[in-house]
Amino acid sequence: MNFAATLRIALLALRINKLRSALTMLGIIIGVAAVIVMIAVGNGAQARVEDQIKSLGSNIIMVLSGSMTSGGARGGSGSQPTITEDDAYALNREIDEIQAAAPSLRGSGQVVAGNANWSTVFYGTSPEYLQVRDWAVIEGRGFEQAEINGAGKVALIGQTVALNLFGEANPVDQVVRVNKVPLTIVGVLDRKGQNMMGQDQDDIILMPISTARKRVLGSSRYAAGRNVGSIMVKTKDGANMAEAEARMRELLRQRHRLQSGQDDDFYVRNLSEILQAQEASSKVMSLLLAAVASVSLLVGGIGIMNIMLVSVTERTREIGLRMAVGARARDILTQFLVEAVTLSLIGGAIGILLGVGGATAIAEFAGWRTELSGGSIVLAAGFAGAIGIFFGYYPARKASRLLPIEALRYE
């Protein structure tokens, strides 16, 4: 017996009991839809994290000021400045895995150019900063070493600041006043877009760290001595991040003269780890959907088995007749197996449509990023088919093992 004929018989049998077939498919439909949505949400979260890692620059490790233990009282992260500009230079110099380490001093306030003003954040940093963040200067130039050493009155500005202060005009060689200190704009930074917190990364002004310390942030305690708020480190491509972190920690502990029993007075944070922690929250959602999916698929499979067993019993005389006119056991087996698989595949197809719709709706209404993939659709369809085969096999085998005469005589 050929496949087209078998399929036709299966479709006919399913059509005769439309409602029953539809109800039987329900578990598969829900299960497959959940699989599709689950994978779309998971992939979306993954893609979001990857994009953010890309926009931050890859292989980033942050060093933040920690707490100084003094008389048992500990402050939170950054409550006391503990890391210095020189720590950054030492990291650069002494750890092979590090490609660049940039100290930064952060400030914020009004900036003025001509009669335009804008509220923004600014960082005093070293030329390595652009390297660490994979950030290009698209107009003008970056800082020169003389400007770093001599607190040069120069600045690089981000796209948002440029737009708000100068509109379409070229900002290079214009003057911007930061905390009333006039700085000459030597370059404009490339567009970066939003970061993982939804902040506009182009709303920024960069200046040499010495300029920030001596001229702009005069009164801040962070600006005292050689302290910095944070050091941003980029490791070399292919470097072992864990190794790099361990060596950084060791070097910093040495430089800070910490005894072996003492806690670190700084924090080392791997940025992709932070992002992955965020991804974990969407993984919880994915896991929940996976649970729903597997329960539905299991229930759907059992439903198919149940209905197929009922169908075999109802159609015992039909089976007997088919055997009488020449159907072999394997023809009967194939017929009922194809029927079960058809049932599960139709359910799977409806589930795929529902899942694609659901993923789109989640993106639309919940604002989650979802990413549908052809692979997940193939996977879901394959799953549905496998369930049909797995749960359809027992009833089909039962049908095929009937004896012709007993099946024919069945009342």
Binding site: M323, A324, V325, G326, A327, R328, A329, D331, I405
Partner: protein
Amino acid sequence: MSEALIRVEGLTKDYVMGSNVVAALRGVTLSIAAGEFVAVMGPSGSGKSTFMNLLGCLDHPSAGRYWLGGQEVSALSGDELAAVRNRKLGFVFQHFNLLARTSALDNVALPLLYGNVPAAERHPRAARRLTQIGLAERMDHHPAQLSGGQQQRVAIARALVNDPQLVLADEPTGALDSRTSVEIMALLQQLNREGITIVLVTHEHDVADFAGRIISFRDGQVIEDRPNAAKDAAAAL
């Protein structure tokens, strides 16, 4: 007559039900030549259906041997028996056994589905058979839309579609009124004249009278086997 189409030797069937053994057939030996029209008679429970089921390769004998067209079928496997049923045999049942919600045409074509007949040939062949038995206008009808006599004709067309050597009919007129019964018998006689061997079970003498040989069963044994001067069913209509 020529070489036997059917030959059975000591054919025996016991039904074991727990500690109870029903000896439905107790050593039947006979042969039927190609082209015969045989009526099997006997009281209810005498083993007629059991005998027919064995002839039809639908069941295995408990003992004894059976040759169909020279081939010993009592030694064949399930799949081989299915092939024998498909190619050499046609069945007509008392209650027609047509597939519901399936057209007359598809019902007739059913054996072709299992006989490796190309899809393009199945419907034309089924249609030819239906036309031959006078149901050309009813091909698209479902069994529920046909009378009992028409349903039995469809079943006969189905039995013939594979060009079998032997048609086995277990009480084919049992569910029909007497006039329709005679019509069905006329059809079977016509097929027999065209060369098909027919073995038919009936408990009505009027029906058996259309056959050329009458075998009588009692308690699982043949008690009488005699030729019969067959009446012409077409003339009796």
